[in-house]
């Protein structure tokens, strides 16, 4: 043990203090993931209640007011408390390792970010304990519905404060990960030797530091509107809020996508035994994508009649070009490789197939004549669940199955992993595909119920069955987690023959990550070490 680690070990807090006050980026990341997992289960249970209600037209399993709280909290949970924090947590854990750093930049700040998100979540959920219930104006909180007249009650205030805290927390996490890449890279780790995953985190964090302050401001203004008035109550007030919201709200879609794309890229390269193909085009595409994402927000506003639709249609549709490059490079990596279909690779392939459906329907939504019809309908619900659940969550599972041996030193069960994949794949498509048809047939989103005369019931039942299959898939995953940690099957330091520096250290890595680093001469230093450098 080096002097540095010995001193740190002696000073390290123990017990409860260690649990709340660790400054080890790896532990902080696990804590963020743990909190997100709890919120994920809560948000998922809420979804099951909603799906149960919608299986039957005119159902009153929960009342309309409760239903409105539930869908608001489902969306808010998944976006503010689950997918965004987990996306950033991947960076908090892996970026210092991938760039060969001993620690993250600003570990205390990072820890603070985590606790802000937890505080935000608890604040948001505490709304259920108030007279009027939790926030119920949707995860977007449009004014004037979210103003004091539209939604009276403390629950709505708690929702706003919760979002504000979680947004601050996410902002802080993004900033420390970005600073780590910029300032803490090991000797030899130039920006053009940064692993693909770390590059996706750079693009992600650039967006995070640009957009989350806008969300914080929007929430602060909303709070001021509710208690002081006069902020959004002019004729232009509502549209101003919508602009502010989506200026955050669209780029955050890519915040919740890029890290998982990066994880999938790493998994695909490793399980194809190939160096990543098209490294530089991919980086350029990521940066163009991140920049472009800042100019597309008003495609959420085509039906308002108050934005220049053609401009936002142009910028939004043009994002198909960098997205196309990303697919080209990932498929190019697999091409000519030696592919093993282990669980991480299955999830990576699931991500590619299903995200494509989200992406292609996204191109359709970028066209106002199509958007005029399906905006605000279940088509949209299907679309963004294909990106966020069928896409990002499958990418997350690829990441979990891939990096679990690094984080814990043991494998997750392969058989249960495959079962987990099959259940999720079947459940996801059963749940969300019917929603495209429902939306096209005229089913509005955010409805607590629908009349039987609409003929929507059949597809809604399919969707509800799918939701419970998803739930069984998640249960299998949790079982796998528990079993694998109890009855441990040691994985060694580098079970997959990884390409990047995190596989050059022990599993789990020591407090300061590395005792020694291999030479870094490309974006795949361990591949170089094993197979020789590329000419």
């Amino acid at each position: 043990m080096s002097t540095q680690t010995a001193v740190a070990a002696a000073r390290a807090p123990r017990g409860l203090l260690a649990w709340v006050a660790t400054t080890d980026h790896k532990r902080i990341a696990l804590r963020i993931v743990g909190a997100a997992l709890i919120f994920f289960v809560a948000g998922g249970l809420i979804a099951l209640v909603m799906r149960s209600q919608l299986a039957d037209p005119g159902a009153q399993l929960v009342g309309r007011d409760t239903y409105n709280q539930l869908f608001t909290m489902h969306g808010s949970t998944m976006i503010y408390l689950v997918v965004t924090p987990v996306a950033l947590a991947l960076g908090v854990y892996l970026v210092p390792l991938q760039v060969g750093a001993a620690d993250i930049a600003g570990p205390r700040l990072t820890l603070f970010g985590h606790w802000l998100i937890v505080a935000g979540g608890l604040t948001m959920y505490s709304g259920f304990l108030t007279d009027h219930g939790a926030g119920k104006a949707g995860w977007t909180g449009y004014v004037p519905l979210s103003a004091s007249q539209g939604t009276p009650g403390t629950g709505m205030d708690l929702w706003i404060i919760g979002v504000l805290l979680a947004a601050l927390g996410s902002f802080v996490l993004g900033a420390t990960v970005l600073a780590t890449v910029l300032k803490f890279r090991a000797p030899g780790m130039t920006m053009l030797r940064l692993p693909v995953f770390s590059w996706t985190m750079v693009a992600t964090c650039l967006m995070v530091v640009m957009i989350f302050p806008v969300l914080v401001v929007a929430m602060a203004l909303l709070l001021a509107e509710r208690h002081l008035g006069g902020v959004f109550d002019s004729a232009g007030g509502p549209i101003t809020y919508i602009h502010l919201f989506w200026f955050y709200g669209h780029p955050v879609v890519y915040v919740m996508f890029f890290p998982f794309l990066g994880a999938v890229a790493e998994v695909v390269a490793v399980f194809s035994r190939k160096r990543f193909f098209g490294y530089r085009p991919l980086i350029v595409s990521l940066l163009i994508f991140a920049g472009g994402s800042m100019s597309v927000w008003a495609h959420h506003m085509f039906t308002t009649g108050q934005v220049t639709n053609q401009y936002f249609s142009l910028t939004s549709t043009a994002l198909a070009i960098p997205a196309g490059i990303e697919y080209f490079d990932i498929l190019g990596t697999m091409w000519g490789g030696k592919i093993s279909l282990r669980t991480p690779m299955l999830f990576a392939l699931g991500f590619l197939v299903q995200f494509l459906i989200g992406g292609l329907t996204g191109v359709m939504l970028g066209s106002p004549p199509l958007n005029y019809d399906v905006h605000g309908s279940y088509f949209i619900v299907a679309h963004f669940h294909y990106t966020l659940f069928a896409g990002s969550m499958f990418g997350l599972f690829a990441a979990i199955y891939y990096w679990f041996p690094k984080v814990t030193g043991v494998f997750l069960r392969e058989g249960l992993g495959k079962l987990n994949f099959v259940l999720l794949f079947v459940g996801t498509n059963l749940t969300f595909f019917p929603m495209f048809i429902l939306g096209y047939d005229g089913m509005v989103r955010r409805v607590a119920t629908y009349p039987s005369s609409t003929g929507f019931q059949g597809l809604n039942i399919v969707s509800t069955i799918g939701a419970f299959i998803i739930a069984s898939g998640i249960a299998v995953f949790l079982l796998n987690l528990v079993l694998s940690l109890r009855d441990r099957r040691p994985a060694g330091d580098d079970p997959w023959e990884g390409h990047t520096l995190e596989w050059a250290t022990s599993s789990p890595p020591p407090r300061f990550n590395f005792h020694a680093l291999p030479p870094i001469r490309s974006y795949a230093p361990l591949f170089d070490l094993r197979h020789g450098e590329q000419r």
Partner: protein, 216 residues
Amino acid sequence: MKSTQSDFQHVASLYGPIALAVFVIVIGTILFIVVRFRRRDDELPRQRTGWPLGEAIYVLLVAAIVALLLETTFTTEANEDKVQADPGLRVQVTAFQWGWRFTYVGQRVSVLGDNTQPPILGVPTNTTVQFTGTSLDVIHSFWVPALRFKRDLFPKRETSFDLTFDRPGLNLGECAEFCGLHHADMTFNVLSLTPRDFASWLSDRRRPRVPGGRRR
């Protein structure tokens, strides 16, 4: 005469097949790769880390598709957004929590309904009907799925759009922007009538003749 359905169909008939083709090609490629390049031995595959020419051609191809899509979108949308100076009929739409009032401008006819009893919006077929809409409280959205068109209605603002109804019949209208407690029930019915039937429908509801009730 413009029709929002045919505008939608025009664009969808381009986007749909292209999306399907891209999907089939990408999925086909992935399946091919997974079958063809399965790991069968421990030998390291040939490492190729880029194909600049191929990728450049591919990017140009994607850009060309994007340009094609946008060209159709732009021309169609320009047509769809146009409002006529002298439409055949003007209807003022007032949305509120949780109902609608449709006022037939210059006709002394107004129809009102809410979530307990949705109103009927009578319209003549093959006539340009110009809607001018606003909201009394929160944001609502006027959606007729059969027409493939919606427009959001904001408080303190007016927005106008032209619609045509090509055949007689009854269609569902819905509020498509979440607006609170009874959002799910904020519907209306669109009754499209031949111009002659519409004229009598309208005169039945003209104010001085029919006192009381919901017909004001």
